[in-house]
Amino acid sequence: MHPNEAALNEYADGSLGAAERAAVEQHLAACASCRQLVDDLRDILRATGDLEPLDAPVRAWPRLERAIRLEREHATQLTDEPPSSHAAATPGEAGSFRKYATWLAAAAALVLAAVVGMRYTPARPADVPATASAGSGAASAAGGVAVSIETELRQAEAHYENAIKGLEAIATTEQSELDPRTAATLQKNLAVIDQAISESRAAVRLEPASEPAQQSLIEGFKTKIGLLQDTVALINEMRKGNEAGAARIVSGLKQKGN
């Protein structure tokens, strides 16, 4: 008789007691399929142990910095106190620019807040199995779920479109700040994303309940918002004269364009 999978997992882990370990080893010596399973589990454990940290997207810090600055501005306004010395603008941020940058940051952060609060998570196929195998009651429930998901999708679409509109307005007005090559790269990337959104939208129209089509549309929106947020962040960094920050964002934009 084969050991159960829990015992084989614990054997692969090295957490099995001595007596059970000996019994499993005896079985493995004679059973190729269990040996294969243990080898595979060890491969997976080894690969998991070798996983490396993922790099956070380059746009993440400028987004966070904007949100922090906005929060500080807001707190300062609430307390109606002059900014203290430690709350002064960072080097490179001064005079009339500060007012302007604050406006940009506020606009971008508002859009960001709207998007962060709107996490659309379409149900995966695994979560919504085929109604044919789920019985009539479940079929009716699945129908309800499909309607609910479509409604959510429509709400998400409207939400993303509003966010995109706001960001586009900022990016379009201020794009003259960017050098022509960067602006061209952005336009090229936006055109590719728009095309993908348009195709996904057509696919959703054809098959409104198709989860891959819905996901693809939502991903398109998210990508476009990410790119527009990068654009606003880049404009901010250039106005601040922060070359290192701008270079980091441009490098991220180029990677996306490849």
Binding site: D40, P53, D55, E71
Partner: protein
Amino acid sequence: MDLVASIQAGDVDAFEALYRQYSAKIYTLASRMAGSPEDGEDLLQEIFLQAYRKIGSFKGDSALGTWLYRLALNHCLDYVRSRRAKMNKLTETLDAETSFEPAARRDTPIARMDLERAVERLPEGCREAFVLHDVEGFDHKEVADLLGIAEGTSKSQVFKARLKLRGFLGKR
């Protein structure tokens, strides 16, 4: 002035230094727990914003990195709990068992990106237990406490995750 004191005094550059030191670790945890790099990015943003707001209450009882990691972990756990509650509501009458087509058997070494994608595909529940136990290194008792489940459930969820990964990665 040390890093904590500078951040507590409102120095954004000092906070950026903290972010640069820990963002990869926190983003990695958040992306894997959420099963999506996009959600991981949103969580990263929320976690650091929360850290900025709460840094005033940091007393130095633990290392700053430990404090930040604990804050991140709690935030990720809140997120997965709330998402699970939402999904349970949607699918409460449906069979939650995941079905998948196992990939054709491959005997080549597991590529890192393939494993990352396979982890993203794991069903909720077993993905969190797997990430906490096999990736983050918590023992089953700690995983059980963090996820509010029994220790035996933590073990079975981690085992289930490994078997699913085996299928996704063409290891059977």
